[in-house]
Subunit: 384 residues, 2 copies
Amino acid sequence: MGDMAIGSPKSSTLDASFRDLTTPAFVVDRTIVQRNCDRMREKAARSGVVFRPHVKTHKTMEIGRMQHGGEAGPITVSTLAEAECFAANGFHDITYAVPLAPEKLERVAGLAARVERLNILIDSETALHSLESFNRASGTVFDVFLKLDCGYHRAGVDPDAESSVALALAIHDSPAARYRGVLVHAGHSYHARNAAEIRSIAAEETACVSAFAANVPGVDTIRSIGSTPTASVVETFTGCDEVRPGNYVFFDAFQATIGSCDISDVAVSVLATVIGSYPDRGSLVIDAGALAMSKDSGPDHVEPQFGYGIVCDRALHPLPLKLVALSQEHGKIVGDPQEIATLPVGAQLRIIPNHSCLTAAMYDCYHVLEAGRIVGEWKPVRGW
Amino acid sequence: MGDMAIGSPKSSTLDASFRDLTTPAFVVDRTIVQRNCDRMREKAARSGVVFRPHVKTHKTMEIGRMQHGGEAGPITVSTLAEAECFAANGFHDITYAVPLAPEKLERVAGLAARVERLNILIDSETALHSLESFNRASGTVFDVFLKLDCGYHRAGVDPDAESSVALALAIHDSPAARYRGVLVHAGHSYHARNAAEIRSIAAEETACVSAFAANVPGVDTIRSIGSTPTASVVETFTGCDEVRPGNYVFFDAFQATIGSCDISDVAVSVLATVIGSYPDRGSLVIDAGALAMSKDSGPDHVEPQFGYGIVCDRALHPLPLKLVALSQEHGKIVGDPQEIATLPVGAQLRIIPNHSCLTAAMYDCYHVLEAGRIVGEWKPVRGW
């Protein structure tokens, strides 16, 4: 990355509104977010697929609208808290893309009644039975996707099992459900080491949903895919009907390292202050610890002991320093003693987070940077 | 741990108020917190030292008072947000135990004017000069501890260096400071593998502050120590004037594993719901992911691949299962297929967190459990 500043060209002319932020602060470069949003939206439009971006990374109404070019289009959420808040702000076509816990059915049904469509996700007969019990008591009919496991082996049914086709048909025939289709998340793309490996997983992802749909002939099946790595590396979306990437709005050190994006596409950083400087022992302490960064260990499979983010100066030039340890409110940095000698107590650094979804969630407020100035605050939805 | 339920004996008779919690939920057993608080407070009283417990683990007014037997006594904080909120609730003797960032001086001075005492921490001439500049402009005199490095090598000056004694004297003689003494945090006790190793670090901790105080003769020096492992394993506090443990109110899987406490002393757990059950592939998915657990990898140095917490049933019996992966809202559990077959979608589990400080901070609300019933909610301070 050398001497190139990451991020918008104006970041070297940061004004007082930036310098006066209380640290640790989560800074979002609006210009980069806009560019990331536009690229992905245009790719989906060009490909003729439904664009249902995930909002879990940012959890803000502002970026939710930027994802759709200024409007409240279809979205994907990871919590009912997100679903309810976005619904209250005009987003009325929502997929709740975590397998449903039956205890949440009443809340789901309540929300479904207030929006145009709320799709839910199941991957078991047990969950279908809970929908049917609820339906018998209330009459609610749910919009349901069947979750398939396309190789990540986290959630989802085996797409090659006969029982999975039987479950799809059972959903289709259930009085409690409107069968919408199949949904996959190629989370194993995070284990890739470069864009070529990601492309190979992207091909598996679409092959999985297409083969499954072919096994359920005569049934309308939306093939919904979504992971930021796979959605970022393909030229166009083929072999699917809907895409749901989320992290791409911010990207992060992890995505840049595995080849989903360039480091200059990362829109977020944590501004931190040096609170301890020890050139003689080759270390610094900053006021961004585990509660400011989250504790994601990053792309260790590509670069062992990656550290807890990429350490940069205020203008986002990477420095020969590594964030090696996080305690609650302290981040410990080690590296070049000459560099450390230039960073006394009070100096500011910016850390590009490993996993922007987790880091963003540590903050009640994001500071919005544009052309070197802080121009606003965005407040994410919290909790469940 | 076998068949013994962890926690209060009544946890096997959980009533509807518990079962109806929306998951993921952070549950605090008040009986255990009270016992942990009483033990540590009584040990400090018996030892004749000032008890200035840390509030960063829980960040609630309720437990702050429990730490002092129902009163608002001296406390230690990790953020100015904590300091300001506790001050507004009657806690007027506060140590802000993170090395001071000069940018925060105005806020510190404002708070110091509203309380009886606000101690701050520095470990550099640079920081002392920033106090002096501020003092020249405003007249503020700060209560200052010198932070010593007693072996953790995170923050603090070398206690054996002549320059450190010189810095202590410079603080003592500065018109901007009232020198209070020296403060250490034996964070390296977290690297211990058993109580004997922790005891050895505890001895180093007190030897460090005592030796340093002896090197500054004729200067009143409070010797302040604090880490939950060291404070928990010693019978009485000797060789110090003040103790500042924090994590002991909750403890966690990490502390139990390294020997700071018994597993039955852990007061907190995350209630989660099974949202995917795959006996054929030996895995479960729960609705407690990285945002519900935090992503602390736990005591890997004692038990490699410890997992992201201890998986228990609702009554806190440990199960032969391991929480092996956390994505944002999914926790992946693997283990005994027969056990997994008993846990369909909708079943509830409780996870004892690896690092309660970080897990607690993920929640806006704690659910207070007593004798099997949820009896209240506590809301922690957030942010900085």
